[in-house]
């Protein structure tokens, strides 16, 4: 199976440093799967948000494994610290009462249909990912913070500007939308 891109093909023991790291990685995957499961299947929306936060924490751990600690930290800060909390706030403000989710009216089909679609997509993507012989390019830059900063402000400065504009528009839009209710 040469199409696997594995940086090392060693077979570490569970009690070596590498094995321990591998174990932590498995825990990370577990976090992601459990979080995603809770986020999509929990009946209470608050639990979904908790699951989402869990899943994001796992994803942050995964970024750490992908040698991008900065992105991992940002993932925690932005997703766990901001997005999840924002959604939890929305639930507090916009849920009439807990537990009024029985009786799925016309959407009885939605669950199975969704599951089928999701499973199909997952299977297709997995097969695609495994079957494709990914081409590896030689490394040119380093992945440290300084390099990211330089790139962000030179060759990719447009992205940086765009992010700020998008965020500004989002702030203004959110204010306009949410403020209207209270006079």
């Amino acid at each position: 199976m040469q199409e696997f891109i594995c940086q090392t093909s060693a077979n570490p023991s569970l009690f070596s440093a590498e094995g321990f790291v591998g174990l932590i990685f498995l825990v990370t995957i577990g976090l992601i799967v459990a979080g995603a499961l809770v986020a999509t299947c929990a009946r209470r929306l608050v639990r979904s948000v908790a699951g989402l936060a869990l899943c994001f924490t796992g994803v942050a751990g995964m970024y750490y494994f992908l040698l991008a600690p900065f992105v991992a930290m940002m993932q925690m800060l932005i997703y766990v610290g901001a997005v999840a909390i924002l959604i939890a706030f929305a639930i507090m403000m916009a849920t009439p009462e807990e537990g009024d989710l029985p009786g799925r009216r016309i959407s009885a089909l939605a669950g199975p249909l969704g599951f089928a679609t999701g499973a199909l997509l997952f299977a297709a993507l997995t097969v695609l990912a495994i079957r494709t012989p990914w081409q590896v390019f030689p490394r040119e830059g380093s992945a440290d913070m300084k390099h990211i900063g330089t790139v962000l402000l030179t060759s990719h400065s447009m992205v940086f500007e765009l992010i700020s504009i998008v965020l500004l528009i989002a702030i203004i839009g959110a204010l306009v939308l949410a403020r209207r209710g209270r006079n």
Binding site: M1, I5, C6, A10, N11, G22, L23, I29, I32, V33, A36, T40, L45, S48, V49, L52, V59, M62, Y63, L66, A68, F70, V71, M74, I78, A82, L86, I87, A90, M93, A94, P96, L101, I106, A110, L113, T117, G118, F122, L125, T126, A129, W134, R139, G141, S142, H147, I148, V151, L152, H156, V159, V166, A170, I171, G173, A174, L177, A178, R180
Partner: protein, 108 residues
Amino acid sequence: MHLLNLYNCLNTYLVVGALLFGFGIYGLVSRRTIIGMLISSELVLAAASVNFMAFNRFTAPDPAVGQIFTLFIMAIAAAEAAIAVSIVIAVYRNYKSIDTEDIVDLHG
């Protein structure tokens, strides 16, 4: 390829990304409330980020570009969440519900 060596393989990350994507799609279809759909769409975005980061780590020539893209996705996700949450609140004010089936008036 060993269970404890998974973290060095590109495919692991791609499969996890696909899994997140699948969960996201499942949630998007099956959830009835806007907030539930919002949560699912965050999962989809996370899946995309994971893929970006994985390719960035294993195949891309410049390892900064993928990270910048992921940061960009994060900003988009945050903006999306902010807008979506304010829409949820606005909708809730008008319809007293966040159930997608109650908001049929939006069909225009």
